[in-house]
Symmetry: C2
Subunit: 321 residues, 2 copies
Amino acid sequence: MSTTPSSKLVIGIDIGGTGTKFGIVNQEGEIIAQDKIPTNSEKPVNIFVDNLFEKIHPLIESNGGIDNFLGIGMGAPNGNIYTGNIEYAANLHWKGIVPIAHLVSEKFGLKTSLTNDANAAAMGEMIYGAAKGMKHFITITLGTGVGSGIVIDGKIVVGNDGFAGELGHTIVRHNGRLHPLTGSKGCLEVYASATGVRQTAIEFLQEDASKHSLLRNYKEAELTSETVYDCAVQGDEIAKKVFDFTGEILGEALANFVMFSSPQAIILFGGLTKAGSFIMTPTKEAMEKNLYQVFKNKVQLVFSNLKESDAAILGASALVF
Amino acid sequence: MSTTPSSKLVIGIDIGGTGTKFGIVNQEGEIIAQDKIPTNSEKPVNIFVDNLFEKIHPLIESNGGIDNFLGIGMGAPNGNIYTGNIEYAANLHWKGIVPIAHLVSEKFGLKTSLTNDANAAAMGEMIYGAAKGMKHFITITLGTGVGSGIVIDGKIVVGNDGFAGELGHTIVRHNGRLHPLTGSKGCLEVYASATGVRQTAIEFLQEDASKHSLLRNYKEAELTSETVYDCAVQGDEIAKKVFDFTGEILGEALANFVMFSSPQAIILFGGLTKAGSFIMTPTKEAMEKNLYQVFKNKVQLVFSNLKESDAAILGASALVF
């Protein structure tokens, strides 16, 4: 512990449903080293912690050793800032309550803080990204699932129990599409995620079975939000309709969020944002259409300008700084 | 200004779509005098301010005169705490931006603060009512319209522009019932207000035209949430179905609000709560059904124990104290 405070580093970890990304972050908010491992949550959590240690330990050693580190900040689905536990995460196979902050802290010998992955990303946006200087905004991750981080008066909203901001699970279509992991019907996540876009494409191809579409050149397993985007760029009507449908639902949901907390901006990030104006245009239109008068034409709807993994790693590291 | 601070009084005013209630509130939070006038917002706002002064001035005189008053706190639909204006209120006939706090302050010669009527009620609940001691809760007014006040970390959420918490205007049924005043389709207010319950009763009677119902003993103009309740108490099936339908929509909406801010409690007040368990039971069931796992069986759903007008008058007065 002989180094000066300014030279201290933090490890930021972003645990996702599929992969876990991590980086060494300095006090200037620069990621000076980063890597990733598969989350493999179908295996016991101890194996995950061991794998994490195996990859990160050499980075610690090559960056001045353990004494040069202030701690570890982690973001994870259903990560609870109050308890340090991942609790009942639908997108992870670890069941029930997982004391991940405790396990990581024991393994590394470093103070470890946890928050929701989407909240970590929102913190990253606030400190380093599109929401720099804003006190009221919402970030929405459009990835494998739909995550959200809500900032009011410059603070992440965690609510009474640490779980606030599960906007992907809000119901947008009564009795709508089934969420295979939660059993709910018609939540935002089953429509506005990459998985949802794929599902919509499959449904539209079936409904309009006789209509020509470039999407039919792909096997069903190859249909992803990327392939739908590729077809939309080439002018494919069904592909464009998939984004219009997705944007209409997403925009309606965003209007509801605006009428809750009246933010300055909504920042979208995650895989689906690669569809650019194909998703932005119908989303914005539906949002404005559904807003109550006093909110119309006030809220910036923008894509994040941070790399997705960077936002979460930086935000997680901010838990420690 | 010779009285001691502890003897100072405040005027709390609750401007509603139909009537305006007001009271003299002391520092113990007691309403020591109260009265009401019709809002009559189809007439110019100056006439309203004059009427208000005419009724309140004698109360000021009989309570120690103007020097004994700290100020005026007001709640109004779309009342903006930042500007003191009522802005584009759908339930009032005054159009556009009405500088009500300024007008009242000029007329009375007292410092005047304004907030959203539902936020005033939430403040009343927090200081004197069911939410005493809570830091995270939401109040929902089920009256002529549907209002809401959101408290996070012990503070009313007003958002970037002062208009946060318009939950009655959130969309709960895509392309649903038209809101005659806003033009939106399927918002919570058109279903879960007294007006909405009346509309649902009319629709159900038409849809099931051959089915016996006590509701048919009333002329259409007499159908209100009270008459529907009276019939439900007597076991009328259509009347009970009206509340089941209303509760299903309301509960789904409440689930969405919980997944936003994760409150300890949701407090319902307003005319519709007189329907007691007819509205509470289906609402609670739908709320729990639509909640994401981590939120289930955690949130108290209760009726306010304050008189509706008291909550808003007390809350408005708290703006000054």
